[in-house]
Symmetry: D2
Subunit: 350 residues, 4 copies
Amino acid sequence: MANKIPVGILGATGAVGQRFVQLLEHHPWFETTELAASDRSAGKAYQDATNWRQYTPIPDSLQTQVVKPCEPNLDCKIVFSGLDSSVAGEVEEAFAQAGYIVLSNSKNHRMDEDVPLLVPEINPEHLGLLKTQRQRRNWAGAIVTNPNCSTIGLVMALAPLHRAFGVKRVIVSTMQALSGAGYPGLSAIDMLGNVIPYIGGEEDKVETEPLKIMGAWQHDAIQFADCKISAHTNRVFVEDGHLETVSLELEKKATPEEVADVLANFSALPQELKLPTAPIPPIIVTAERDRPQPRFDRDAGKGMSAVVGRIRPCPVFDIRLVVLSHNTIRGAAGAAILNAEIMKAQGYLD
Amino acid sequence: MANKIPVGILGATGAVGQRFVQLLEHHPWFETTELAASDRSAGKAYQDATNWRQYTPIPDSLQTQVVKPCEPNLDCKIVFSGLDSSVAGEVEEAFAQAGYIVLSNSKNHRMDEDVPLLVPEINPEHLGLLKTQRQRRNWAGAIVTNPNCSTIGLVMALAPLHRAFGVKRVIVSTMQALSGAGYPGLSAIDMLGNVIPYIGGEEDKVETEPLKIMGAWQHDAIQFADCKISAHTNRVFVEDGHLETVSLELEKKATPEEVADVLANFSALPQELKLPTAPIPPIIVTAERDRPQPRFDRDAGKGMSAVVGRIRPCPVFDIRLVVLSHNTIRGAAGAAILNAEIMKAQGYLD
Amino acid sequence: MANKIPVGILGATGAVGQRFVQLLEHHPWFETTELAASDRSAGKAYQDATNWRQYTPIPDSLQTQVVKPCEPNLDCKIVFSGLDSSVAGEVEEAFAQAGYIVLSNSKNHRMDEDVPLLVPEINPEHLGLLKTQRQRRNWAGAIVTNPNCSTIGLVMALAPLHRAFGVKRVIVSTMQALSGAGYPGLSAIDMLGNVIPYIGGEEDKVETEPLKIMGAWQHDAIQFADCKISAHTNRVFVEDGHLETVSLELEKKATPEEVADVLANFSALPQELKLPTAPIPPIIVTAERDRPQPRFDRDAGKGMSAVVGRIRPCPVFDIRLVVLSHNTIRGAAGAAILNAEIMKAQGYLD
Amino acid sequence: MANKIPVGILGATGAVGQRFVQLLEHHPWFETTELAASDRSAGKAYQDATNWRQYTPIPDSLQTQVVKPCEPNLDCKIVFSGLDSSVAGEVEEAFAQAGYIVLSNSKNHRMDEDVPLLVPEINPEHLGLLKTQRQRRNWAGAIVTNPNCSTIGLVMALAPLHRAFGVKRVIVSTMQALSGAGYPGLSAIDMLGNVIPYIGGEEDKVETEPLKIMGAWQHDAIQFADCKISAHTNRVFVEDGHLETVSLELEKKATPEEVADVLANFSALPQELKLPTAPIPPIIVTAERDRPQPRFDRDAGKGMSAVVGRIRPCPVFDIRLVVLSHNTIRGAAGAAILNAEIMKAQGYLD
C-alpha cells in the first residue's frame, strides 16, 4: 500500500461518506487514511460513530480509526466530500484554501462559474477552470464537483446525442430511489404504496446542471449548452437507482436506431485511459422492452454505467427513451472517485 | 327496491366486475340482478366463483346468487362489462345486437367511429353517435365505452384547459398502480423495490383516446381534437391511483393561476344534473407542494374526482402539473356507472 | 351538540392524537373542545400545528382551533392522552391531580397498582381501583389506561379462553405495523424488503400487561392471572394492523372447535350496554385458511374487533391460532374512547 | 476445465434451476454441461427458454445451450434437481434408476425411510442410507435430498443445541421471503402492506424434517430425534431470507451465553474438509439487538451461513432466539451443491 495516495473523507459517517469508504476499500490508486465528520462524531471510533448501512462490512483497517473533525489539518492532500449542503459550502472552501483538492458531491459550488462540474466522459476539458479558480480565489487547493444524482443519468444519455444531433429541448420525468434522500430519509409509512411527486430543489438541478456539463470550453470559460430542460421529479419506493423517462427534440433528425448506435458506441477519455472506476461501456443500451428496471439494472458497470432502453419515436418531439443510473455510485461517491482518477491521470494531483 | 332499474354485470368475478358489484350496492337508480362470467364460473354461487378482494364484503343479496354465462339472455336491459379485452369484443357485440345497453370498460370498441368514448363531464353530446351506431350495425341495443384508466386522469385535466386555452402538445409520464393490471396481475417479487417502465399497449391508448374524447361534435360525427400527446407509462408499487406528470403547450398563453382557476372552477352536466356518482367538484386543485399522492388523494370525491397539483410554468412548454385519479373507480367501474347515469338522465335508457 | 360532554386531547398533534380527533368527530356522547400539545405547537391553529396523516380531513370545527399547552386548565373534565411516554407520566398526573379524568394511552401508569389497565370487554370491574387511586394519591381526578397496541389483540383472544379453559402458557410472535412506531417512525429504506426483529420495550409489555388485565378483582385489588407469556416482537412493512401467531397451553383441554365457539360467541358488558364504540362481535372468528391478513381484516368492527383465524391443534402446546387487531384504533385511540364510554355508562364521569 | 465433473440441472429454467446455474458458474469441482426442463422449454436455447431473474448474467457458455427434456439420457452422472414437486417424484426416480446421482431440492422423497435428508454440517453419516436405498429399490444411482427452505435455518440452530443440551420442545414462527414461493409466486397486490399467515404444506415440513435430520444413525437406519416442534409459517414482503423466531425447551438448562458459545463455535465436517461451498463459520451469532434482518444478513457466508441473534431467556421455555437463512441458497440450490460436495469428498461420486 506504500505507494497509494492517501485520501480523506469529509462527512464519512453519512450515507455518501459510507459509499466512499466502501468504494475506496480496494482502490488501486487511493487509500483512505483520514475520516472526518461533524463534531458529534469526532473523537469516536468509526464503527461507533457511523450507523453502517452498506452490504459489505466496514473495512478492517477503518473500524476503529478515530473520526476527526472536518478541519483542514488532515494528513492527506485529497479529500472526498459527502458533506450535507448545509455545511459543505464553508467547509469545502476552507479545505481548498488550505491546499486540499476537494472532490465535492454537494450542490453548493456546482454552478459556480470557476468550479468544474465534472463528468469525465463528457467534459474533462472543464478542469481547465481550476487555473481561474485558483487565481481568482487565491486558493492553494481546488474544488471539483460532480452532478446531482438525478442529473447524471440524464446528462450521460444527452451528451453523446447533443454532440451527434443537437438536443434542443428535453422533458424528463424521474422516479427516484429512497437512498437519494440520505439516511434515515423518508418515512416508511409515507412511502408504503405511495409515490411523492416532489423533491425539494431537485428540478432546478436537473434543468440547469446538464447545460453547464455539456457546455463548450471556450476562452478558458464554459459556454452553456443551448438547450432547454423541463424536469418532473418524483420519489418512489426503490432502494437505489433513479429511473427517468425522457422526450427529446433534436436539431438534426435521427431514427431510434441511429440514437441507439450513438449511445451504444459512446466511449470517452476515461475508457481510453482505463481509469479504474471507468465503466466499459459507459452507456449500455438494452433492447428488452421493459428495461431498464432499477432493481435489475442499477449495478451495471458496477453501478457506473447508465442504462438506456425503450428508444423509440416521440409523437411530440423526436425521440423517447428511458435511462437509469445508480444514484449513490454514479450519482455520488463513484462519480467523485472517477473525477479524482481523471485528475490524477492528467497530472492535477501531482 | 321495486323501482330500481335491474342491471347485469359481465365479467362479474374479475377485478373490475367486483368493483361494479361494490359500487352498485347502494346505488339509488340501479340494482344488480344478474351476474355473468366465464364458463368456469357459471353455475356457481357468486361467493364461490369469485376471489373477492374488496374491502367491503360481498353484498348479502348477491353472495349466493348463481353466476350465469355471458350470453345475451340475462333478465335486464343494461349490462356493465368488466370483461377482459380478449373476449369483450364479441360478447359485448352480441349483447348490443340483442338489445342490451352495454356500458363497456374494455378497449375493444373505444376507438370505433360510431361508439361513444364517454366522459360525461367532457363529451356528453357524443352520445349522439348511438343513432348512427344502431343504424349502421342494425343493433337494438348499444355499446358505450369509458376510457382507459390511465387516459381518464389526463383527459379530465386536459379538457377544460383545451376549451379555455387550446392544448397543442402534451408530454405525460405515468406512475400507475398495480390494480390496473387486474388480479393477480404483477408478481410481488418483480415489484419489490422496483419500477417497470413498460405497460403493454398503454401508451397508444393515452395518446389517442383523449383526442376522441375532446373531439368536437359536428354533423353527427366526432372531429378529433388537434393535439399531440406523447406518453411514457410506468408501473409502480402502489395499490390504487394512477399518478401522471404532465407538460403542456398551449395555444393561448396562461399563467399557473389561470390554469388553476379553470380547473378548480370546472363543473359540467353531471354536476348540474346531480347524477348520483358525479363528484363535486370533478377536479380538485391542491396547493400543497407534494400532492397529489396516490395513497392520500385517490379517494377524493369517492374516487371520482381527479386531483391536480403542482401547477407551475414549464421551461420547455407552457405549463406543468401532476394529476391523480383512481384507476379502478374513475378509471373503470365508476366511469361506466356515471355513463349509465347520464344516459338515464338524458332518456337513453327509456 | 349542546348536550355532548366536552373533552380535550393531550398530544393532539401526534399520530394517536390525530386518531382521537378523527374517531371523536361524530361521537354521540363526546365532543372535542380542547386540543393540547407541546409548547412547539401551542398557540398555533391545529391545521398548522399538525402534519395531518389521516384519510379523512380534519373536522371543520377544529381546523383553526388554537392548540393549547398541556397544562391542567383546559375547559373540560375529561382528557384523552396520546402523549409520548417521555412526557406522559408527569403531565397526566398533573391533570388527574387537578380533577381531570385522564384516559391514557401511554405506558407510564399502566402497571401501577392502583391504575386500571382497562379492556371493557374483559375487566370492567377493575374500575373499582379508582377509589383506591384517589385516596392514595389524593387526586380529584383519575387515570385510566388502555393496553399496548400489541397486547390488545392477544389479550382479547386470551381472556375468553382463560375463563373457559384456563390458559397456562403462551408463546406469541408478532408482526407489527409501521404505525405502531408513530410518525415519522421507521425509515423507508430500512423497511424496504425487510423485517426488523426487535421493538424496544415491547416484549415486556406483551408479557406482563395481559396478566394484569385478566387478573381477578379481589378485595379491592387485582390478583394477577397465573399465566406465563413469552413474546417475540417484529416490525413488518404493513401500514396498520398487528398480526400475532399464538401457541397456547390450556389447563382444561379443548378442541379447536370448542376454542372457536368460545371466541365467536364471546360478548361482554360493552356489547350489552350498546356502547357506541363497542364492536359486535368483539371477536370475529374466520375459517378461511389464510386469514386474518392485516390489509383485509384490520378494519373489522370499525377497527375495534379482534379477528382470529387458523385455530388448530399445536403439536407442542394445545392450541394454535393467529390474531389480528388494529393497532391505532383498538390498540390506541379507540380503546381509550371505549374506556371513557364504559366509565360514562357506569357513572364514573358524573 | 478438463478435470471438472460434468453435471446436469433438472428444472433448469425455474427459480431454483437458475440459482443452480448461477452458483455452479465458477464451481471448482463441477461444471454444468446439461440443462433440462419441461417439454415447453426443451429444444430452445437456454436464454430463450428461461425468464432469467438473477442479478448476474447467464454464464456465457450456457446462453445458447439447448435445453433438453428431463429424460435420463443426459451426458453426465450427477444431476441437481430444482423440479417442482408436482413432477419431481417420478422424474427423479427415473434418473436414479438409470444410474444418476440426484441431488434433489424437492419434498417428494425427503421423508422416505431410505433417502438421506442431508445437511452436511449435521448428519453426513446419513449418507449411509444410500446402501439400503440402492438395495431396496434396485437403483444404480441414488437420490439425496436437502431440507425445505424454512427448515434449514431452524435445524442449523437446533442441531448444535440438541447435541449440547438436548432440545425437547420448539415453538417457531417464520417470516418467509417471496422467493420461497417460486416465480411468479405471489401477487404484488396481495402482498402490498400485508402479511399472509399461511403457506400451504409448510408447517408440516418444519415440524417433521428436523427430527429426521437430527436423528441418530443406528444400525443402518435413522432414529428420529425425540423433540416436538410447532411451526407457524407466514409470508412477508421480503425478497430473500427466511426469518424465524424460536422458543426452545432444553433438557439440560443453559444460559444465553452458553447457547451463544455453542452456536458461535459450531463447526463440522464440511468446514474441516474445506468444501468449496461450506461457510466458515456455518453459524454466525450476532450481538446487535435488532439483527439478523433479511436484507442485511441473508448473504452472510455467501448465503450459506445461518445468522442467529437475540439469544435471551424465554419466560415460558428456556431460551429464545431469532434465526435467518437465505432460502434460495442455503435453503435450496446451495444446499444441494454442498450435499454433492460432501458426497464427492467421501467417495460417493466415484
